[in-house]
Symmetry: C2
Subunit: 218 residues, 2 copies
């Protein structure tokens, strides 16, 4: 797997730009739970996911979390290099949701090439617009969607991502994804149990009726 | 007032690029309440505010609103040209909050120059990062801040923007800014009245104690 497989505008860079990026890029592995990036003071670099899964979230002052977006194979994480843009005035944290292999392009190198390469700058703009869309989706969810819909959507996404209807996830972790206290998650899950939609046991949630969850979304 | 006063990277464009932008840019006036842009199907163009005030908001399916950000003199509105980016998957609406004079650069012209000009692409990227910061601030507000804090912050911003402590604004308009029903706004304003912070009369809110509102924020 090469940089050219991940950066669609690779062929539009000059030979020297390609060489400079290649020589400075390193392959790294992060273990499940490891923090890759922590707040705006951190400027690790551009991260390209080769395999695994990353989660970007924001924290309240008292430590509550809400997931902004997740990144999968071939996705690019810009905000791990947030120092590139003067206008970024927010902190996000990025952790590995699974063991994750990434390519890491140092922020200074990326910035120096982006400043002279219109293709790279425009590509970066598209990636930022993509994350902007994720965050606008989140605003739509938290502003206008009731919690039963948001939880049903989350469970359906998870069985899709994990490829199994038995999810190994705690109520607290779900609360951290959705920005709600654990108690609120537990209460709604119990309602889903009564409706025959899910079954709970220690540390796992089994989806019994995915169609029923989809019905909640409508 | 010229384009060069508003686009800080003007001098980094070629003579031909400057000429092409200048020749295609038009000056327009929008009256208070007029809609400049309505959803992603609309692609008016890049808008530079010369004077006045614009408001960008998002709508729920049943017509509720929340303000994403406001734009003042010299600010640039990218999302009125959202067709430039394939990755923008959300609809926003932009209205004139006051009579507003703008420069309008057609989307196709802007895009064609941005595709070859690294300075323009990087500048655009900074503007998008700036809006991203606005929207992240909003997520922080709606997720973690209680409504009394959000309303106090809104009123303090308004007296700052309007330059007067007597605000001509309805409870419904405030609700549309903050994404809450009118009744919720009215209830909190009555609480502020009881605390001696504001005084209400038909269509106006007078701020009696700005320091008291600031105390709520802490």
């Amino acid at each position: 797997m090469e940089l050219s497989d991940f950066l669609p505008i690779w062929e539009k860079l000059t030979d020297e730009q390609q060489k400079n990026i290649s020589n400075s890029t390193v392959k790294r592995k992060f273990y499940k739970g490891e923090i890759l990036h922590n707040g705006s003071s951190d400027c690790t670099g551009l991260i390209i996911v080769m395999s695994g899964q990353l989660r970007a979230f924001t924290l309240s002052k008292d430590g509550r979390e809400i997931t902004l977006y997740r990144l999968f194979d071939c996705d690019i994480c810009l905000f791990s290099a947030s120092c590139i843009w003067n206008s970024i005035q927010f902190d996000i944290t990025i952790t590995a949701q699974q063991d994750t292999e990434v390519l890491l392009i140092p922020a200074e190198m990326y910035k120096s090439i982006m400043q002279v390469s219109a293709p790279l700058a425009n590509y970066t703009n598209e990636v930022m617009a993509d994350r902007f869309s994720d965050v606008m989706w989140l605003i739509d969810q938290v502003m206008w969607k009731s919690f039963d819909k948001r939880l049903a959507q989350f469970l359906l996404n998870e069985i899709n991502i994990e490829g199994t209807s038995t999810l190994h996830i705690t109520h607290e972790t779900i609360g951290n994804h959705l920005g709600n206290p654990r108690e609120v998650v537990t209460r709604m899950l119990k309602y889903f149990v009564n409706e025959g939609l899910v079954q709970l046991s220690r540390g796992t949630i089994e989806i019994l009726n995915a169609k029923g969850l989809e019905k909640i979304l409508r």
